[in-house]
Subunit: 402 residues, 2 copies
């Protein structure tokens, strides 16, 4: 066992981790202020003034993380050691019950022309209902190879998940998604010794899928990417003696939480609904770690809409008092990575974080923002240490050494 | 492959790394200001106000690096893993074409008295011409041992390089330079199993060299140190898909650049000439990584001359606008280590760094100096991550993980 795991003690204290996805940003060239600095966030500012604040580095300086590594780090898992493949993340996201050794891949429904070249990598973004109909066709019309169980699961729009279960499968396979149009899907190639058989099996499946969908008007092809084998993760309970509950509306974040052994609260229709769910769970149960996820801050950043991201931040700020009112022993607010609207993408820039608890130094910080957090007592630190700090502030870590 | 190497993408962007050797300093007790803080640096100050700034730690807290580790870290190579021996560094510096397994050592011409005791470890600092004459004598009069190729190369003043090439040589050998006068040169000792034969060979060579120079008036002995075996380094092209050009006037820095597969621009007579060389190379070629090295800041620090170091910094500051005018996508200014003039030596103190690019937060910093950089968005971070940040700001890193 490593630090901090070996020091964790049982306790009655409760931790709430609020994740504003893609929270960090870059300044608007006109005003010199980031999205968070521009937003009116009286509640977060008040919290920050009395909290331990700083900036977290999701992976390493300069590395822009996906949502998987970004969240794993927040939960105390080294995101390099515990990197998750896209396929596994997608399978977890749709609630598929993965077993050790399963190989999962993300599928896109795509439009192919008469010569088999990709015309649209997303098949015109079919509806979710249409997606389910297409997946049903695959389930019926694509036979499982000898000795392998085969599963297809709908995700959203053009996205689906494929899982193979069987002896001796390898996930060391290349993508078939060419990431461009005008060319045919790529062939599956083995990327390591011992992957040849799985490569042939998967190619047969994808060929059969394309034949099955040949009469579809738009979704007449499939592209596969992100092959990944599932390995069991040590849970939050195993590592930190925490009973976790995740309140998240989007499949990927629910999948990540499940991967770490958290329970899932029901999906709410709105962010306000998520807070209501948290309130109910907080009062009626003995979960001691609550993860609540707000997606739109990141979405508006990826849209490149500075002001919409500002408004998304303000909307979460308005919900903060209800979370504070629950009286958690430790309240953390941060993001899994930065998504500057000027970049329309995840970035490497460190993310503001605040830890409200009675064991902080605090002081010297005017509010919650990228530049103010730079002045805080936590400095810039690897996100994987955030959980250690959460446990410490929750009084759940024994002293290290005599 | 490790991070960030596995994420690197080809691109059109260009990075310029300006190294002011030994940039960091310590405050003058009278004024409380360091050399950099004392210097009038309007250009670096302006850049810093709009840049991401911070402090780099060359190796680890408290470790004072040589020029080798200092630069390797700047180029993204862990300076502990990739530590280079003095001998290899010297051989590279004189442009010697090292092969895998070659064992190199730095030689000093020295003055010995009649009893063979060292009187002057630098033989009165002979001229470079005199140095070449002495090396020529060694080449003619010292026979190569059975099965070993032997090379002597002049460096500058009292310094030369010796290289042994052959099967089964070991570099685990002790120095013969006693680092003091009044005692004879030390005997070569094997420092690991399997080094006994090489120790005997080298001792024979050094004895023969001393006999050959016995009739010299001042340079009648040689001292050897820094035995090191050459191993091939992965290049900047291999690791970062960068085509690098080094503009450096001093052999050691040219050697370091060559070690990492950079091309070398012609040696200029002045620092201004180096900038002119950079300008010409930047306009006419497709190098995407330019390293330009300014030596005097360090030299004046090692002289212990505070005001001369201030002036050396100001001289580089005056050249900065010409480098800015080239319009690199990422412009970095930093040093390989600190050389406080009060210490007359390399030190462990973190070194100011600025990264100018359009993807920075900036703000809150008045200028370029040790204490101002402490307030910047980069914090204090290991120098080996600087290259990752350079690549990120240059838009050359893919996202990590799904």
């Amino acid at each position: 066992m490593e630090l901090p795991d070996e020091l964790v003690e049982h306790g009655e204290s409760r931790i709430v981790l609020v994740v504003m996805d893609g929270l960090g940003g870059l300044p608007d060239p006109e005003t010199g202020l980031t999205e968070l600095e521009t937003a009116s966030t009286p509640n977060l500012d008040r919290l920050a003034r009395g909290a331990a604040v700083g900036l977290i580095e999701p992976v390493l300086p300069g590395i822009s993380p996906g949502s998987g590594p970004g969240h794993l780090a927040l939960f105390g898992y080294d995101p390099v050691r515990w990197n998750i493949g896209r396929g596994v993340l997608s399978a977890l996201g749709v609630g598929f019950d993965l077993r050790e050794g399963d190989v999962a891949a993300r599928l896109n429904f795509a439009t192919l022309d008469a010569e088999g070249r990709v015309v649209d990598r997303r098949a015109g973004r079919p509806s979710d209902a249409e997606n389910r109909r297409l997946v049903e066709r695959l389930r019926k019309e694509v036979p499982a190879p000898e000795g392998v169980e085969l599963f297809f699961e709908p995700e959203k729009e053009h996205r689906a998940v494929m899982v193979l279960r069987g002896e001796g499968l390898s996930a060391a396979l290349s993508d078939t998604d060419p990431q461009e149009t005008g060319v045919p899907p790529l062939h599956v190639r083995p990327l390591a010794e011992g992957a040849e058989r799985t490569a042939r099996i998967v190619q047969d499946i994808l060929d059969a899928a394309t034949r099955a969908l040949a009469d579809e008007r738009t979704a007449n092809g499939v592209l596969a990417r992100g092959f990944a084998a599932y390995e069991r993760y040590p849970s939050l309970a195993d590592r930190f003696k925490l009973r976790g509950l995740a309140t998240a509306r989007y499949p990927m974040y629910r999948g990540l939480a499940r991967l770490l052994g958290m329970d899932l609260s029901p999906v709410a229709d709105t962010d306000e609904g998520s807070v209501a769910t948290l309130e109910a769970a907080f009062k009626d149960s003995d979960y001691d770690f609550h993860f609540i996820h707000f997606k739109y801050v990141d979405s508006r950043g990826e849209d490149g809409d500075f002001l919409a991201k500002v408004k998304a931040i303000e909307a979460v700020d308005a919900l903060i008092p209800r979370i504070e009112a629950l009286g958690p022993d430790v309240l953390i607010v941060t993001g899994d990575h930065s998504t500057p609207s000027r970049m329309r993408a995840h970035s490497w820039h460190p993310v503001p974080v605040l830890i409200a608890s009675k064991w902080v130094r605090a002081g010297g910080v005017a509010g919650f923002g990228e530049r103010e957090c730079r002045k805080g007592e936590l400095g810039i630190f690897p996100a994987k240490h955030l959980m250690t700090l959460a446990l410490a502030h929750a009084g759940r870590l024994a002293r290290f050494g005599a």
